[in-house]
Symmetry: C2
């Protein structure tokens, strides 16, 4: 296995150094998503130093060893060199199935779509963070913050639900949007298929809960293949990974995050779709729900959603586009949702707020000073600093940390 | 035609003097509902003096003649004595079809249900007020403020809508509620029929837009007959009146008023049902709406309703009872909605508020004084006084008007 394999990957371009790509591939292999601690470590010291710490199982620059704990099981028995080889092997496997690893350092990274995941605490009992990187097969995912719209629903959909999902999928792709879903049977498949019948740049995108070299469900292998040709297939799981209940739930946060809004077409009372709906709400994205006959078990979950305030009842693509329109014109950039440049400190939680208050714009402060002033354990202070840095609210200098003026700082690797 | 006919009417009891009943029957005949001016006149001087003014086409006690204008066309060419005879004839005709005239002076009058109509300005381009009286065939309507629940929907209902209406009608009647509707084809008929299959005191009530001696639609004559036997049929239109588009719309305010909440089962985009829904909202009664397939034209109106805030999506009787429950336990009397004893002045509109402010609890003030102090035309001041009196917020004395202490004054006839 040589780095040549990696450099040959299609679509990687010249954006990020190969060391960054290997580091992030290694972190995806070593850490079960979604690991906020590890993601924060990457934000804090950059992917290369974070990967160095993980693969050598050492604490770097005063970082608490607890952050390593969750990766130990997955790296046990392998030398740092072997772990690098594993990362390279993952990249090569991806390349062999026509996929590439897209990293935050790439222009293509849909930062504005994924950044909000820092503001979500937990999903499915896992801490939540943006993915460390994404394996992608198909077109560029760089426009998703402008175009993504999530359509999800029950696997055991009725003919009614499938028809509504197809109407939505086709009309939304036709309107230039990218229909984001999970490649499952039922609603997902109907939405994907109908979107691909439209003439569009990236009509649809499937987020998998398994490796990019796998197809789940197997019966949808041809559909997933086709989505990779006409649209894009993405996953944060390294090649070879099998899906699991946990991974579906963790994956659902990405399905919600990659759409400017989430539309639920059909859902039973305990549908997994409700976890995607919950993630959309935690991300403050509009949650749109299609009603159905009250006599249908597959609409019970939809009606329960609609009985709570703040959800939008939608009857078709016209309603969806009507709700999106004001959002669409928010910024000059035409982003479907807010760019992450200036989150309010208050959105970030009390410990982050405390650390932010302890920082100065002019004078750099050390981590021990910040921990002492805030009364927070060093780990929590570092976690908060990582969040602040990721939010563009704090930046590291040679001697410590400073509060950023209100413009987004470009992260160093 | 003698008053003996009237005294023989079944169910009139000894509550109100016959002069009151004749006066109100005459007013129903002379004034197309819903006439706020005439209703206010009745509140102001009592039904007997109001009828005297109308039938003799004279202004009494400084009342503006404009209030009479709308009744002139209907009383033209008849002497006061002939108009009395007409009123007696109406009462007798009602008696012959097993109906009675229920007046606000009767114990049976559902004041708490109807009073809120003073707070609604206009419906279908008619000024709005409680009915002057109601022709009733069937059981007592006195419990409606405790039991009424309105179920309405499209005449051209689908099998789905009829099934849902029947489920609701039966379960709500079974829970001891009275299903109020309009005896139309489709949703109305399904709800009425299913309610009558339940064992209940007054399972259902139909409000007609025609005379109590008529059945509209004719094909529902047997249904309306049966509702009169097991439940009750009511109307504010005098015997012989034909229905019209205006009368359906004006009637719809009573359908909404007689229910503690209104449930819309199916409605097209321009359904007349939406006027009932609008009246329910103006009355501040919960508006509950059943969703349906987005592919059904008969659910378009329902979904439009649900796209505005404040409406309740209900999927069946359990949801309805859940929403009603907190309301039900508001007062000691078990009223489903507020009793009219103490409406806030602010609810009554700016001119009423101004007149209320111009009154004193201890010192009686004359109408000219009130008009001068408020800057209102005499007619508007009188209208406002009538509303205040009807609301128990003002009372007449020998020399003028006083603000009432915060208890309901019993109106004189």
């Amino acid at each position: 296995m040589s780095t040549t394999d990696v450099d040959d990957l299609p679509g990687t371009g010249a954006a990020a150094p190969i060391a960054v790509r290997i580091a992030r591939a290694g972190l995806l292999r070593a850490c079960e998503p979604s690991a906020r601690g590890v993601a924060a470590l990457v934000e804090l010291v950059g992917p290369v130093r974070a990967w160095h710490a993980v693969r050598s199982r050492t604490a770097t620059a005063g970082l608490p060893v607890e952050w390593m704990a969750e990766t130990d099981a997955r790296t046990a028995g392998l030398t740092p060199g072997q772990l690098d080889d594993t990362a390279r092997a993952d990249l090569a496997t991806a390349g062999r199935v026509g996929a590439r690893l897209v990293v935050p350092e790439d222009e293509e990274w849909p930062a504005a779509a994924l950044h909000g995941l820092w503001q979500v605490d937990r999903i499915a009992d896992r801490t939540t963070a943006p993915p460390v990187a994404l394996y992608v097969r198909g077109g560029s995912i760089g426009d998703l913050p402008h175009t993504g719209i999530t359509v999800v629903g029950s696997r055991a959909a009725t003919a009614y639900g499938q028809r509504v999902a197809a109407d939505l999928g086709h009309a939304l792709a036709d309107a230039g949007l990218t229909v984001v879903s999970g490649a499952a049977f039922g609603i997902d498949a109907s939405a994907h298929r109908a979107a691909m019948a439209a003439q569009a740049q990236l009509p649809t995108l499937a987020v998998l809960a398994c490796g990019i070299d796998r197809a789940y469900p197997a019966a949808n292998a041809a559909l997933i293949e086709r989505i990779g040709e006409l649209g894009a297939v993405v996953t944060e799981y390294p090649p070879g990974t099998h899906p699991s209940r946990l991974r579906f739930l963790v994956r659902n946060r990405l399905i919600a995050a990659l759409g400017a809004a989430t539309i639920v077409v059909e859902a039973g009372i305990r549908s997994g779709t409700l976890s995607t709906a919950g993630a959309a709400e935690k991300l403050h994205r509009p949650l749109m729900v299609v009603p159905g006959p009250v006599t249908s078990a597959l609409s019970v979950g939809c009606h329960r959603l609609l009985q709570e305030p703040g959800r939008h009842l939608v009857t078709g693509p016209a309603d969806v586009l009507e709700i999106l329109r004001p959002v669409e014109h928010l910024g000059d950039q035409g982003h479907l949702f807010e760019t992450p440049t200036a989150p309010a400190d208050d959105d970030l939680g009390p410990s982050v707020k405390a650390v932010s208050d302890a920082l100065s714009v002019r004078l750099a402060r050390t981590v021990p000073e910040i921990a002492r002033d805030t009364g927070l354990p060093t780990r929590d202070a570092l976690d908060a600093l990582a969040v602040l840095e990721a939010s563009g609210l704090a930046s590291r200098t040679g001697t410590g940390w400073r509060r950023s003026p209100r413009t987004r700082t470009r992260r160093s690797q």
